[in-house]
Structures are given as C-alpha cells and as structure tokens.
C-alpha cells in the first residue's frame, strides 16, 4: 500500500553491484509480501510443503537474501511493531478488500478461469503471525540481522538510514520512507531479475531503482514537510486523502501554500515527521547455523536439498564477505 508518489518522483536505475559493501534497512513485511506475490508454482499457486504450509515467503527470503549477500550488500530486515492508531482503520479496510478478493478467487477457480484466479488470489495474500515468526527464525539461522521496530518498520528503517553511516538506503517498494526522511530509497532490490507477469506468459525485467530524497525534494522545489503534505492530500496509510486530488495537483497546492485549506489534521504530519522510532539498535552478521538450516528448510519444509546445498555455499561466502572480507576493488 503506502503513499503513491511515483508520478512526481524521479528515480534512477542503479546496478545492485553499486551497493557493494553497504548496509540497507529492508522493510521486512514489504519484502515478504513481494515474495508471496511473485514466487509461485507454474499454475499460480503458492509454494507449499506437503502439509499445506505456504513456503513462498521463506523461499524468497532465503534465496533473495543470499543474492544480496553475494553482491556484498548487507540487508538488515526491519519488522513492524504496533501500528499507530490511525493505521488500524486502514488495515481494516484492506481486510475488507481481501475478503472480497477471496470470494472472487474461489469463484474463478470453480469456474476454471485460471487468469482471474491468479489475479484475485494474489490480492488475498495473508500474512499470519506464524509466517512472520518463521521468517525471523529463518533469518536468525542464516546469520542475517533483523530488528523489531517500536512502531512502523519504514519509520525505523528510515531513522537507521539517517543515523547510522553504515546504512546507505531503505529498501521498500513503497515511497513512505521518503516521508519518514530516508536519505535514500531503493526499490526492487529484493525482486531484481526476470519476473513472470501474473497470469501471462510474459517476462519483464525488474531493475533496481534509487531515489535520493534531497534530489527529489530539490526537483520538486519543496521541503520534506511539503512532501508529507502531498502524501496526506493524496492519501497515506493514516488517512484517506482528499477525493479527486492526485500527486500533481497536490504538488501545486503545497507549493501555493494552500495545504491548510483542506482541513487535514496537523497532527497527522507528526506521524511522519516525528515517528516512534528507537535509537537503541545494533546489528551484525554471523555465519549460518548450517545443520539447523537444513533441518528448517529441507526436513521440515521439503525444500530441495540439492538447491539448498548450493545456496548454502553462497550464503557462507556471502556472510563471510560482508563481515571481514575485503574486496579486490581497492587494488585496481
């Protein structure tokens, strides 16, 4: 979900290799949702073990994290804490959309409309507490750090990016972290590569993008508070926005200093400008617990042993790489 700023914010394509040696704070739930949406069997069904447990999110988390580590990128996953009260209404609405999509998906399946089934079932994506818990367990076994945010993950991720020189960017598909003040936002980082379009036999190349907050603000001719105002005008996770106002007209309103005319509560701004975040964070990478990983992935969830073995080697090298290993880059 999040605030939709893509029409007014310029982005640059980047190569992941450019992030070599840098840490990124990843909105964990955002990444896990992406995995659920795109990591599917040929027929559009989620990956599952033989007991019916979904494993798409774990498959994505495992293999995609290794891809990043292999490039010398240090992902730190940030999990949501308690959402602000204002978000709870939004969450309730999302649930209603999901309930409706679920009915449509079931009907499509019964009537044999494959494409519709895939489309609607992707909207149903549900994340259970158990799935969150096992994703953390997987990260722990892999030796990859995660942090529980006091409230919004994107706020904490943005805060870490501002505070800790090691953290170069926030990784999320949403633009909210710009409102939270992340100096750099990177998108598509965990889903880079060839991606099959849902319901079609077409592939699209997903390329990582980078948005530098200072550059984006300069290009728009506004400050961060102005960007928050734009967000509130078009709608965020905390408010519905003003009907009929899109990003472009919102930009005009903010530049003309007419935000106050729309009756949006000032205190909503503070949810972005002064979010509930913690200074008390630390993160480090450890070598993976190999035996426990094999048991978690292969024995309990029926991942292909051969594939996991190959990935394990890359994981070990990757972790080693991001801890004390130098690269050759400085010797050319």
């Amino acid at each position: 979900m999040g605030v939709d700023l893509k029409d007014i914010i310029a982005k640059n394509e980047i190569e992941l290799a450019k992030l070599n040696g840098k840490a990124i704070s990843v909105d964990a739930l955002n990444a896990l949702y992406q995995f659920l949406a795109i990591i599917r069997q040929r027929d559009g069904e989620l990956l599952k073990d033989s007991t019916g447990r979904t494993t798409s999110h774990l498959s994505g988390l495992f293999y995609r994290t290794i891809n990043l580590l292999e490039l010398g990128i240090r992902p730190v996953y940030i999990y949501d804490g308690r959402p602000p009260q204002e978000k709870i209404d939004t969450l309730r609405q999302r649930q209603e959309i999901k309930d409706s999509a679920k009915k449509k998906a079931i009907r499509a399946k019964v009537e044999g409309r494959e494409k519709d089934y895939v489309k609607f079932s992707q909207q149903v994506l549900h994340f259970s507490d158990e799935m969150l818990k096992e994703s953390k367990e997987l990260l722990r076994l892999m030796g990859v750090p995660f942090i529980d945010a006091p409230s919004e993950a994107e706020a904490q991720a943005s805060h870490m990016c501002s505070m800790d020189p090691r953290v170069y960017a926030v990784a999320s598909q949403d633009y909210d972290s710009l409102l939270f003040g992340a100096p750099v936002l990177v998108r598509n980082v965990t889903i880079t590569g060839r991606r099959k379009m849902p319901g079609k036999n077409v592939y699209r190349e997903v390329v990582p993008e980078s948005i530098v907050l200072a550059e984006a603000l300069a290009a728009l001719g506004i400050g961060r508070e102005g960007l928050v105002e734009i967000g509130l005008l078009i709608g965020t996770d905390y408010n519905e926005g003003i009907k009929g106002i899109g990003p472009k007209s919102a930009l005009e309103i903010v530049k003309a200093d007419r935000f106050d005319e729309y009756g949006i509560e000032e205190r909503l701004k503070d949810l972005f400008l002064k979010p509930d975040v913690s200074d008390n964070f630390s993160f480090s990478f450890k070598l993976p617990d190999e035996d426990a990983l094999y048991s978690f992935l292969c024995d309990e969830r029926e991942f292909s042993r051969l594939r996991v073995e190959r990935a394990m080697d890359r994981l070990k090298k990757g972790i080693e790489g991001v801890t004390r290993q130098e690269t050759l880059d400085q010797w050319f």
């Binding site: 070599n20 070990k316 990757g318 690269t327």
Partner: protein, 244 residues
C-alpha cells in the same frame, strides 16, 4: 566459426576451476587461443585464465569472439565424459548453441545454450605489493588448507625465516603447518609478511590443482596464485580478510 579439439579430461579440469569462482563465464576466443578474465559477483576473487592455441589438438577460429557459457551446465556435461575421450567444441552462434562432442567408442554430442554474459572487458589485473614468492607443491598446500578447515573458516599465510607457515585458529582449537624452504619449490623472501584469507575460496580453487603453485604474498593484501591446469595457465587473485 569456432571449433576446437581437446582432451576431455583437460577441459573438465579447466571448467572445474572456473566453476569454483564464477557461474557464468565469458570465454574470449581469438587466433592465439582462449582467455577468460572475470571477478566473482562479490568482487572478492578474480580469475585470469589462458589456454594457448597449442594446448588444443585442433583449434580454428575465423574472427575474435566472446562465447558465454553457464559453467554449471558445462560441468554437468563434462561429468559425462570418459577419461580417455577426445572432445570437440563447436560454436553455432546463429542458433546460439555450443556443441560438445565426446569422441570415444561412440560419438556423443551435447548441445548447450550460448548465454549472454557481459565480458568484463576492461578488467585489469589488480596491482598490490608482494613481499614473498612461495613455490609449493599442490599436495602440501592442499593439506594445509584441509587441516585448517577442521578448526576455522579462514587461514593466515605467513612467510618468515626461510619457511612458509599456514595457520588457522577457531573456536575448537588451532593448527599450524610449517614448511621449511628445503621442502618448497622456491622461497624468495624480501620481507616477512602475512595475510589472512577465506578458506572456502582457497579450498575450492586448489582442489583441482595437481602440479606446483606459485604464491605471491604480501601484508594484509591479496594473494596471487599461479598454476596450470589441463594446459591452462591460471592466475587466481583473492582479496584478504582483515581483522577489525
């Protein structure tokens, strides 16, 4: 047009050493032979490989070209070759295919896709200070690596006082291998030096080496390993681990 004939076991060894570093290899072919220079995705190691034309039994190419191969697929094919087989490599670039034919009691032809893998064409060899040159037999070196793997995931290589020392320290214990100059192929020591390296890179690369290895070692700098495999002359460079 590119066509070459080589002993299957030689090509298998060459592919095996490439596969220990990279998954996709842009092979450069010109009238002098075959070359490859590439870094692994994390930029921790580099391989520079050269198979001169005269190491092939037959070798013909009409113009310079780069042929990208999936190394894992290729090694899977190579595992099907028999030790006494001859091997024919032929590129059919119009159809994006590389044909590998094993010639023994039968002719077995495998078609593999030529993949699009960017050549790191401007890649130079890294430049770093070296304080010692150590010539060592592969079996001695591999023993030191295997011993170290029991206790740790990294190893310190040190040259001093007319000897070469391989040392590792881990949670469960430590191990030291000391090789005197008399047991080495050569030892040129300008200055005492030591650097620490990731064991898995060294183990993977050295596993297919049989002859002598020449190491160029410095202080907290990369190591350069020179060796030959299956008629290929190979330089392998590995960045150090720095304790901090």
């Amino acid at each position: 047009m590119f066509e070459a004939k080589i002993e299957a076991k030689n090509w298998k060894n060459i592919i095996s050493v490439i596969g220990s570093i990279i998954e996709e290899a842009p092979l450069r072919i010109d009238k002098d032979g075959l070359t490859l220079r590439a870094m692994d995705p994390s930029h921790i190691s580099l391989i520079d490989l050269e198979v001169p034309k005269d190491q092939f039994i037959d070798f013909s190419v009409d113009s310079d070209r780069v042929i990208g191969i999936d190394v894992e697929e290729m090694s899977r094919v190579m595992s099907r070759g028999k030790p006494t087989d001859m091997m024919l490599i032929k590129a059919d670039e119009d159809n994006n295919k590389l044909f590998v034919t094993f010639i023994g009691e039968s002719r077995r032809r495998f078609g593999l896709p030529i993949i699009d893998t960017p050549e790191q064409s401007n890649l130079k060899l890294p430049d770093f200070p070296t304080n010692a040159i150590i010539g060592i037999d592969a079996s001695l070196f591999k023993d030191g690596i295997k011993d170290a793997s029991i206790v740790a995931d990294h190893i310190t290589l040190e040259a001093k006082n007319n000897s070469f020392i391989m040392r590792a320290e881990g949670d469960i214990g430590d191990i030291e291998t000391k090789i005197e100059k008399s047991s080495l192929v050569e030892l040129k020591l300008e200055e005492e030096c030591k650097s620490t390296f990731n064991l898995s890179y060294l183990a993977d690369v050295s596993s297919s080496i049989n002859g002598p290895i020449t190491l160029e070692l410095g202080n907290d700098s990369p190591i350069l390993m020179n060796f030959e495999i299956g008629g290929a002359t190979i330089k392998f460079v590995l960045a150090p681990r720095i304790e901090r």
